[in-house]
């Protein structure tokens, strides 16, 4: 423990703005039914740095409280919780990132994603050219291991994925230690964990508290964001499952790719891939139509860049499958591997991290709720 941890950390401008607005919200409380942020707020009389970081990540940016707010612009109080929380949230991704210096990649995240995509694409196109001499060649049975041997891919992707996962975990652990000090010996961790899983997997806090959904372009409620996010997330998870099954096939069963269309990995990949096309496309459209006062406009490149990256992974994956028996296969393979590599590289420094930080915040909120309920009884 260093000396600074004994002092009350000073709030920066964005944190001070959250603090100012939460003082107003805490004296009003009309929005308590919408999400977990406001009930958590009512447990506090003051908002320190850690509280603000926690609440900023608990906020799902659904927009409900902004449209319902009697103190929103043009009121002189100028309350806009989704926006002020979004600003702090981005800062937490950057502050808690590991290694700390790479947190700066969040500052111009659209550029980060574009550059890493370009680099990774370039890498695989050049490698393909080096190995094959051309981006176009017919390969028997669409066997892409003829271009990049299995072990080469495992080494490249495994090491990057391993590093990124480690970095992400360290970041979230750092965040957890800051926002939940002394919650090491927590009681009822398992039920709180189950609640967290449920809330995260169902996107409970995009339901508006009444089941009709969140806000997007105006004060009307819509379930579109929740549904497109589900398609994106579950599509992604199916693709991940496809890769995992294929890995089992390879190492355990000794069956080598490419697998036929009607095999478990390919079917999982196709279904997941379609979800991962429709979901991001829908989210991109909704982001484009989003009310200008929702969240932080400056973060739209981060959001859209990440959505595009997911879309491109899925698109190139499906194209690779479709063209695997043609001369386009090497090109498609290089494109797909490039986008996947860009995704792996940026995992701890992109919007991807939001799910992990938010789940940690949700976990804390369920622990807190349980603690309060127990102390009441």
């Amino acid at each position: 423990m260093n000396a600074e941890s004994n002092l009350i950390p000073l709030l920066n401008t964005d944190e001070e703005e959250v603090n100012r607005q939460l003082q107003i919200c805490n004296a009003c409380r009309y929005c308590e039914g919408y999400c977990a942020v406001f009930p958590a707020m009512t447990q506090r009389l003051e908002f320190g740095k850690a509280d603000i970081h926690y609440l900023a990540n608990l906020c799902h940016n659904c927009g409900a409280c902004l449209h319902a707010c009697q103190y929103a612009d043009p009121h002189e109080f100028g309350v806009n919780i989704p926006k002020s929380m979004a600003k702090v949230r981005l800062q937490t991704y950057s502050d808690y990132a590991w290694p700390r210096k790479l947190g700066a990649l969040y500052q111009r995240n659209g550029l980060t994603l574009a550059l890493s995509s370009a680099l990774a694409l370039g890498l695989f196109l050049v490698l393909t050219l080096l190995v094959q001499g051309s981006l176009f060649s017919q390969i028997e049975g669409g066997d892409f291991y003829q271009i990049f041997p299995h072990n080469t891919l495992v080494t490249m992707f495994g090491s990057v994925f391993g590093f990124s996962t480690l970095a992400l975990i360290l970041g979230v652990v750092h965040f957890w230690r800051k926002v939940a000090p002394g919650e090491k010996q927590v009681q009822e961790a398992v039920p709180a964990m189950i609640q967290t899983g449920k809330a995260a997997l169902t996107l409970k806090y995009l339901d508006g508290g009444h089941g009709q959904g969140c806000n997007n372009e105006d004060d009307a409620f819509t379930l579109a964001r929740r549904r497109f996010h589900h398609l994106t997330f579950y599509g992604f998870m199916l693709c991940f499952a496809a890769t995992s099954v294929a890995t089992l096939y390879h190492y355990v069963m000794g069956w080598e790719a490419p697998y036929p269309i009607f095999s478990v990995p390919v079917i999982l990949g196709i279904v997941g891939g379609i979800g991962l096309l429709i979901g991001p496309a829908g989210l991109f459209y909704l982001n484009y139509k989003r009310h200008p006062e929702h969240g932080d406009q400056a973060q739209r490149p981060m959001d859209r860049g990440f959505i595009m990256l997911l879309f491109m992974i899925s698109l190139t994956g499906l194209l690779l499958l479709g063209f695997r028996e043609t001369t386009l296969m090497p090109l498609m393979l290089a494109l797909h591997l490039g986008f996947v590599m860009a995704f792996f590289l940026t995992m701890p420094y992109s919007k991807f991290a939001h799910g992990f930080y938010r789940s940690a915040a949700l976990f804390k909120s369920y622990l807190e709720t349980r603690k309060n309920n127990n102390s009441k009884h």
Binding site: R29, Y30, G33, L45, A68, G209, D219
Partner: protein
């Protein structure tokens, strides 16, 4: 010509518009404010006081008609109309399904408001969410909505509405011509006059100290309730009801904005400490009853003090026992220092606090019940929750009267008709704050304003639709 013209844009106006449209009439709604300020005082509300015979979704236990009526009778001191009050009460038991159909969501009581879990149904997100839902529903049903359209006068012929007059005005830099809008019938739901400073001054006059008390009032509600139409209607001979100085008036943070301070500017620690005026003297029993039952009298109490200001003083024992105030209080390590910070005469203030502290009798403090912590030998007494103010740091909050809405209104009957010389108009109706004084002669109880607005808005809308077809208005079932 449209069938029904609705003047106003808050809860009562929207209820009227929706009912008239549902009854098949073509409807136009004129809201004086720009779109972003729409909804009048309704945007600051949070719940509806509801009669119910058994537990109902967010409402626990029962709140029967008779109990509701007795509550109303008590707070108004009898200044009410039993027939209309009971009409409101009964309507409150059946209107919520209709509200839900138009997109209003209810939620269990907010933290800090558990005392009304039985009697009041809370709007999820508060009144602005309700207003948004009604506007969306009205747009979907084809109600024409016009913002930035204040009505300054009505053309009335033989007690019948003919047309509304909208003055020339400038909206976002564009000059809009004066208009005359005709309709077959009309509902007035344009609110009270709380944001008309001149009228407040006229009503409250000058006190014995030579002050104009209303100059120091803050308005918790909308800046658009100027009472223009209310005044014109009274001038044109419409029957009125109520006293212009009667209003929902609470003690709020003196630093609150002049308008639209809403709920968050209230100060909830009065019953946990003492309140002194600017001369450093106490003036009323701070512990007379539970704060939610007393907060609506404190606006008036402060209005009667010199300079229309009071100071709620607590010590650190009180912290955490009341809803957090929106602005931090003055904080000091000694009472002397606090007096200096608040600009209070130190000697009198210290004497007041010492007298009070000495008068506190030992008891078992419990803020959730009328406990036995009382004072003895001090005037005014503090009859509950009296504990010596002796544990630093000390906190002080300056209080001003905050007006929510005024009670002077147009006299009406169970058809919501405006009356001239005690004769109901065929096609002119009134709802909301413009007639709430029929039910609320004085006093207040949480959520009853929205009950009145919803009940009479619905009746007025239905009857305006009937009147536009040339049919007789009906009283509520």
């Amino acid at each position: 010509m449209i069938d029904v013209l609705i003047i106003g844009g808050g809860n009562a106006a929207l209820c009227a518009a929706l009912m008239a449209r549902e009854a098949g009439a073509s409807v136009m709604l004129l809201e004086a404010s720009p779109r972003e300020w729409r909804g009048g005082n309704s945007q600051h509300t949070r719940n509806l006081r509801c009669m119910h015979e058994a537990p109902q979704d967010v409402l626990v236990d029962a709140y029967p008609e008779e109990e509701y009526w007795q509550d109303l009778l008590k707070v108004t001191g009898g200044k009410t109309n039993e027939e209309l009050a009971r009409l409101v009460i009964r309507e409150s038991s059946s209107c919520r399904d209709w509200m839900r159909q138009h997109g209003v969501h209810f939620q269990p009581p907010l933290s800090g408001a558990l005392h009304v879990a039985r009697t009041n149904a809370f709007f999820m997100g508060g009144g602005k969410a309700l207003v948004n839902a009604y506007y969306r529903s009205a747009e979907q049903l084809g109600v024409q909505i016009r913002y930035d359209t204040p009505v300054e006068d009505l053309e009335i012929r033989d007690g019948r509405f003919v047309a509304a007059l909208v003055p020339e005005r400038e909206v976002n830099g564009t000059r809009l011509a004066a208009e005359r809008i005709e309709a077959k019938s009309c509902v007035l739901a344009a609110g009270g006059f709380e944001s008309n400073r001149e009228w407040l001054r006229e009503a409250w006059g000058q006190n014995e100290r030579g002050e104009y008390p209303s100059d120091n009032f803050l308005i918790r509600g909308t800046r658009f309730n100027k009472g223009t139409l209310l005044k014109r209607m009274i001038d044109q001979g419409a029957d009125s009801i109520g006293d212009p100085t009667q209003a929902h008036m609470v003690a709020i943070d003196a630093r609150a904005p002049l308008y639209d301070g809403g709920i968050c500017t209230r100060i909830d620690c009065v019953s946990l400490g003492v309140v002194v005026n600017k001369e450093g003297e106490r003036f009323y029993d701070e512990g007379e009853d539970f704060w939610p039952k007393r907060y609506a009298i404190w606006g008036r109490l402060v209005a009667q003090q010199p300079g229309q200001i009071g100071y709620s003083i607590i010590d650190s024992k009180a912290v955490g026992n009341f809803m957090p105030p929106v602005f931090p209080g003055n904080k000091a390590d000694s009472l002397e220092e606090l007096a200096d910070q608040l600009g209070l005469p130190r000697e009198i203030f210290m004497r007041t606090l010492q007298d009070y502290n000495r008068a506190c009798r030992p008891g078992t403090f419990n803020h959730t019940e009328l406990d036995d912590c009382v004072t003895e030998g001090v005037t005014p007494a503090k009859t509950h929750w009296a504990r010596p103010i002796d544990t630093p740091p000390f906190y002080g909050y300056a209080l001003r009267p905050g007006v929510t809405f005024t009670y002077l209104g147009l006299k009406t009957d169970d058809t919501a008709a405006v009356r001239f010389d005690d004769q109901p108009s065929d096609n002119l109706f009134v709802a909301g704050e413009m007639m709430a004084g029929n039910v609320l002669g004085k006093g207040y109880t949480a959520g009853v304003g929205m009950s009145i607005g919803t009940a009479f808005g619905r009746i007025a809308g239905r009857n305006a639709a009937l009147a536009s077809l040339g049919r007789q208005p009906a009283s509520a079932a």
